[in-house]
């Protein structure tokens, strides 16, 4: 078995609603190895998306630890966490979350503009642009580089989102219902693409889904209920 690239150790997360504390995650232990695909299944409200946010360092755990490559990262300063998120993790969301003012190419390029200054980016802009173009070509959007999200179909938008998630060469992709907003034909195409790229690059995938078929294509299925891992 490969070394774990992503770990959750006894992660708890609760939100405060007035004087009440609402527990969302209750002692989650999870490990994803390099090159492994893991499906996270569970009913709505089980805490899947929250776990994804905690693992992606978008939301700190109330207690417990998040580890990247065995190193604890949840307690790092906010700037370092942002940088690690950029280098270690790629996000794919159900609603694509593309920036409407930018073209497909610019949306993807944005992923490489986070860890360098304007001058540093300017010096290697041609190289980055070529990489982004190649990435979009790989997801089948070589002809749609300069289209804005509003000019793209749902499947195309999700492909742009996948290209953006992968451009910074992350070790793990966290996908939150990536096909939840697509029709089945389009969804199949997107899923095929994701798994192809995952295999080519040896990425770890953690997919939140309700789709049992999609989950079945993963190496491992983790089921959650009421904020706890019940199997897997």
């Amino acid at each position: 078995m490969n070394a774990p690239v992503l770990q959750a150790c006894a992660v708890h997360k609760h939100y405060r609603l007035g004087k009440r504390e609402i527990p969302v995650l209750r002692g989650i232990d999870l490990s994803v190895a390099a090159g492994e695909t893991v499906a996270l299944l569970g009913a709505s409200g089980a805490g899947k998306s929250t776990l994804l946010h905690v693992l992606g360092l978008l939301d700190p755990p109330s207690s417990g630890e998040v580890r990247y490559d065995g190193r604890r990262v949840d307690a790092l300063p906010i700037g370092e966490r942002a940088l690690l998120r950029h280098r270690h993790v790629g996000f794919v969301f159900q609603f694509y979350h593309l920036i409407p003012e930018l073209t497909a190419l610019q949306n993807v390029l944005l992923a490489r503009m986070m860890d360098c200054s304007l001058f540093a980016y300017w010096r290697r802009r041609r190289e980055v642009r070529a990489a982004a173009t190649a990435m979009l070509e790989q997801v089948g959007l070589g002809e749609r580089l300069h289209h804005r999200p509003a000019e793209l179909s749902g499947g195309e938008r999700q492909r742009v989102a996948i290209a953006r998630a992968l451009l910074a060469d992350p070790k793990v992709v966290l996908a939150d219902e990536p096909t939840g907003n697509l029709d089945s034909t389009t969804a199949d195409g997107v899923v095929d693409l994701m798994f192809t790229i995952q295999r080519q690059r040896g990425l770890a995938f953690l997919l939140v889904t309700h789709d049992e078929e999609l989950a079945a294509r993963c190496h491992r299925i983790v089921r959650m209920k009421d904020g706890q891992v019940v199997s897997g």
């Binding site: 939301d59 906010i78 942002a82 690690l84 998120r85 950029h86 280098r87 003012e101 953006r164």
Partner: protein, 494 residues
């Protein structure tokens, strides 16, 4: 470090949202207005100060007791810093043209009620000794400038006063007009005159009017007769009664010091004439060289400290010559002589700057409002940026740079517009007046030949830096709000 994404996104957001033009236009208008209006005001104030300065003497010894004799004061006025002194006598009086309608009635019908009674015969009479006055003030320059001012505003030429060029010192002291001029004036007015013009000798002491007064009263020919009347209370134990004295005089020239109030209100006449009008006839052996003020010219090149020292020395020396129990006399420099007026002008400039600052605040508020709206509309984008690994600082920088860019564009355009409009203000004003009869800056209202415009580079730089700092300050608030947004909440935002 600010990520490259921040300026990239700021630029995209600005270019795709036309509402940001409001902020640019707001800052541009505010900067333009501040640069232009303040340049005009600075020019105006500089002009006013220069004019006031040209109408004032270096120092004025004043607040002297009644019946002060100039001869008694003279020893006290000897000082290393003093170059020359001249006696002055001030009193209110009435001026009435002898053969032009009632006392000072305006020759031109006007629908406007004239509350400015100084133009209707009342005048501040300032008695001067022309010989010494020339040495302490710009009397000769004032007399040269008077006709020029009239000619600038009206077609035609106005005659130049010859009284200071009179070779006879006695006649010059009386500001007497040439004999032939007075002879002609007498004939025109039906007043007694020698049959033979060459036999006539001028007798009327000359009076000099400010160009403003002449403009209102009408243009007068050389030596036009005027009656000057003074009312005074006799001193001593005599019962309180008003004594009036009248004297015929000749219009001997028009002056312009540049100080509007002085030119409007003051009539210059020989000091001996005014002494006589006040019952202090030189022929009377008991008469004295009566003065109310002494004008002082200081050595050139004295610094502020040296002038202050000289003032204090003169004040002490003069005070010592005054009778025991006299009130304190004053020695005023040119600014102190016009303190109220200059303070009012400075106050007006301050108020104007405040109003313009408020305009700038409104422009800054527009930037704030548009950026705040942008943050609200871009909450989801903020979540996306966070998920891509943008630090809070970089997220805040997107909006801070946006505000700075709006401020920079507005400031740049405003500075260009301000400098260009200040540079071509008079050209534009003339063109508008010639083509449309519209004057943006009615010069006649301020008696100016051209709109004074003093564009100070330091002021332009101050305004530009201030506008940029203000833009940054107001942009900081929404950018901070953006930086502190919870990424998860932002991603869930609909």
């Amino acid at each position: 470090m600010i990520a490259a994404a921040a300026p990239f996104l700021a630029r995209r957001y600005l270019l795709t949202r036309r509402i940001n033009l409001l902020g640019v236009l707001g800052v541009m208008f505010a900067v333009w207005a501040i640069v232009l209006v303040d340049s005009v005001f600075t020019g105006f104030v500089s002009q006013i100060r220069a004019d006031v300065r040209s109408g004032a003497v270096d120092l004025l010894v004043t607040d002297l007791p009644a019946d002060t004799s100039y001869e008694r004061l003279r020893p006290a006025l000897v000082d290393d810093a003093v170059v020359a002194t001249a006696p002055r006598l001030r009193h209110h009086g009435l001026i009435k043209p002898v053969n032009v309608r009632r006392g000072g009635e305006r020759p031109v019908a006007s629908a406007e009620v004239d509350f400015d009674h100084t133009l209707n015969g009342f005048a501040l009479l300032l008695g001067i000794d022309p010989a010494t006055e020339e040495a302490v003030s710009g009397l000769r320059h004032w007399l040269a400038r008077g006709p020029e001012e009239l000619e600038t505003r009206h077609a035609g030429t106005f005659w130049r006063s010859p009284v200071l060029d009179e070779p006879d010192a006695e006649r010059r002291a009386q500001l007497l007009m040439p004999d032939a001029d007075e002879w002609r004036a007498r004939r025109r007015s039906g007043l007694p005159a020698d049959h033979d013009r060459d036999q006539h000798r001028s007798q009327w002491p000359g009076v000099l009017f400010g160009w403003q007064r002449i403009r209102r009263l009408g243009w007068f020919a050389e030596a036009e007769p005027f009656d000057v009347t003074c009312a005074s209370f006799p001193g001593g134990d005599a019962p309180a009664a008003v004594h009036t004295h009248s004297l015929r005089s000749a219009f001997a020239g028009t002056f312009a010091t540049g100080h509007r109030a002085f030119d409007e209100s003051t009539v210059l006449l020989p000091i001996e004439t005014l002494r006589t009008l006040l019952g202090n006839d030189a022929a009377d052996p008991a008469s004295i060289d009566l003065v109310t003020d002494v004008a002082v010219r200081l050595r050139a090149g004295l610094g502020t400290g040296a002038i202050a020292d000289a003032k204090e020395r003169l004040r002490r020396a003069v005070q010592q010559t005054l009778p025991a129990g006299s009130g304190p006399c004053l020695v005023l420099d040119w600014e102190e002589q016009n303190r109220t007026f200059l303070s009012a002008v400075a106050h007006e400039q301050g108020m104007m700057q405040f109003v313009l600052f408020v305009v700038m605040l409104v422009a800054a508020f527009v930037i704030y409002a548009t950026l705040h709206m942008m943050v609200v509309q871009k909450v989801k984008d903020i979540g996306i940026l966070a998920s891509l690994g943008a630090s809070p600082r970089s997220i805040g920088a997107v909006f801070l740079l946006g505000g700075f860019a709006v401020g920079l564009a507005g400031t740049g355009l405003g500075v260009i517009a301000g400098v260009v409009s200040a540079r071509y203000l008079n050209t534009a004003n003339d063109w508008l007046y010639a083509n449309f009869g519209v004057e943006l800056f009615p010069r006649i209202m301020f008696d100016l030949r051209a709109v004074p415009c003093d564009l100070q580079p330091s002021w332009v730089a101050t305004v530009a830096i201030g506008a940029l700092l203000l833009a940054l300050l107001v942009a900081y608030v929404p950018s901070r709000k953006a930086a502190r947004l919870n990424p998860v909440t932002a991603l869930a935002h609909e």
